[in-house]
Amino acid sequence: MGHVPLSWYLVLSAILFVLGVAGFVYRKSIITVFMSIELMLNAVNLSFVSFSYELRRIDGQIFSFFVMVVAAAEAAVGLAIILTIFRNRGTLQIDEVDSMKL
Amino acid sequence: MNFFIVSVIKIVLVFAVFMTTLAYLQWVERKVLAHIQSRTGPLRVGPHGLMQPLADVFKLLTKEDLLPPYVNKFFYLLAPFIAVCLALISISIIPFGPEIEVGGTRTYMQISDVNVGILFILAISSVSVYGVALAGWSSNNKYSLMGALRSSAQMISYELPLTLVIVCPLLLANHLSLRAISDSQAGYYLGFIPRWSIFQMPFPQIFGFLIFMVAAFAETNRLPFDLPEAENELVAGFHTEYSSMKFACFFMSEYANMVTITCVATLLFLGGWHPLFPAPYSNWVATAVLLFIAIACFFQAMRPARKRDQYTFPFFGIGFLILAALWTVPSFQFILIPIFWFAGKVAFLLFTYIWVRGTLPRFRYDQLMHFAWTFLFPCALLNLLLTALFVAVF
């Protein structure tokens, strides 16, 4: 058994990303949709780290790090928004939050 | 292949010692608390209740494994598992002593040395919230949920000062590996002041150490910060609905966390296995202490408080004499002396845990959070700033 080619990591990243997109499109709870976004971010992070390995440069990891930090900030604000939505509307179903329309 | 064999031996050894320590830590706690409160503590099972931990294990194993209705089964079963696993994992990177050579094989007195050891500890401790949170939520019980939420909030809040204060010894040591941090504290100022972090120039971390200990108490949900399991308000907090072995898991994880965090405190602040005194004297401290204990045992045997003491204490005395002799054998000293110092420091800190528990009353929840955010956090921040400043300047 040899070593794993790096493209496997990229394939894994792609799979996770697609799963994240699927979660975003098909899940109906705001929180889960939000988690799907985090999944997508994680998938992209894996790509960053993989390419960082390929190029032997750690800039990719730095970007990954920034993505993490932004995700943390986003989670803080996003969950606060979710809390507010729940307080005002008493629901977490994403399809019921649809008053911004014609 | 050699690496695997050595690793397996080390894992078995550490695991055995660690589990025994956990079991007897509980015995020690009950004994010390009892004596603080002028009681005697466990006495019945074995001499001085020494068999009590074993009996407890049997009791918990043989109890009926109750599964309450209305709980979320999967998470209800998962929670104690998570808790105990995460608690036990951290010990794998704690170094107990320097690099040694046994039978031509050089190895560390540590299961594995990790470059980012301290980050690993932080990662594990931050993830260990899940055990508590899930347990409380899956129990489907408002007391449990309240306990879980409180516990989670408390652990997250106190993690901040804890992390900030950990950074200070890292600044002094300039490394993330626990072994390297400990080694950076070897040596003495003026020939007698140990170069431990709490004494280390340019900015002694005494305040850092105190903040760390306070935060560690909260982090392990121990008195005076054991709000999650405040019996009189929340019945028993997040593990109200747990019984038998599942309860034991939580119990074990609490003690394991205690031991881990005192080990970390020792490594970060108290110089790890590096002795308090310079080389020739420190070699005999262990022997002297053990001899003193042995003599005390014999002395106690001559004036027994109870009848059977006159039979048991001489045995203890002989045991301690043998141990003292063991520490004088030069071919064992290179292993035993670091272990003595490390174990001694950890034991002292653990005793402090119990001591505090026996002395201080419990905080109110709002006081607890208030204390964390408005006192401990700014203090830790200030400490960090000053340390960074001094490190940068000198």
Partner: protein, 167 residues
Amino acid sequence: MIDTILFIIFAILAIVSGFNLVLQKHPISSALSLIGVMGSLAVLYLLLGAEFLAMAQMIVYGGAVMVLFVLVIMLLNAGREKGSTKSWFAQIAGLPLLLCLVALLGFLIRAILPPLRSVEFGSWVGGTAEHIGQLLFTTYLLPFEVISILILIAILGAVVLARKELD
């Protein structure tokens, strides 16, 4: 050898957790699945020589972000999802589009990328704390400072949003 085994184990764990995230109906199951994905990814980062990032992944994602999610789920007592027919376009077009995405990504990885090196555990450890710190505080100092301001703003925003209205 060992890295191949580790990769396979954790890749499978990540994919299974990812599927679980999408398929489970209860938010908390999804959240735990996501934690599983993140833990697996942390191990994969270690394999790729990004040890600092692996620990950061555990501390930030595992210990902070996901704890927040779990707490919010518990606090709001979010239950199982209900079916909905409002988003008709997502229901109809979602699956074909997803398949297109899979096909496109697969095609891109296969067709466009040149052959990449294979991953050997320990052959290159670039992401030590030292290297990351050096780069972070020299080349990327400005983004770093900007992002710390971003975090500060996020904290304030979260406090303002989540605060109970005082009458």
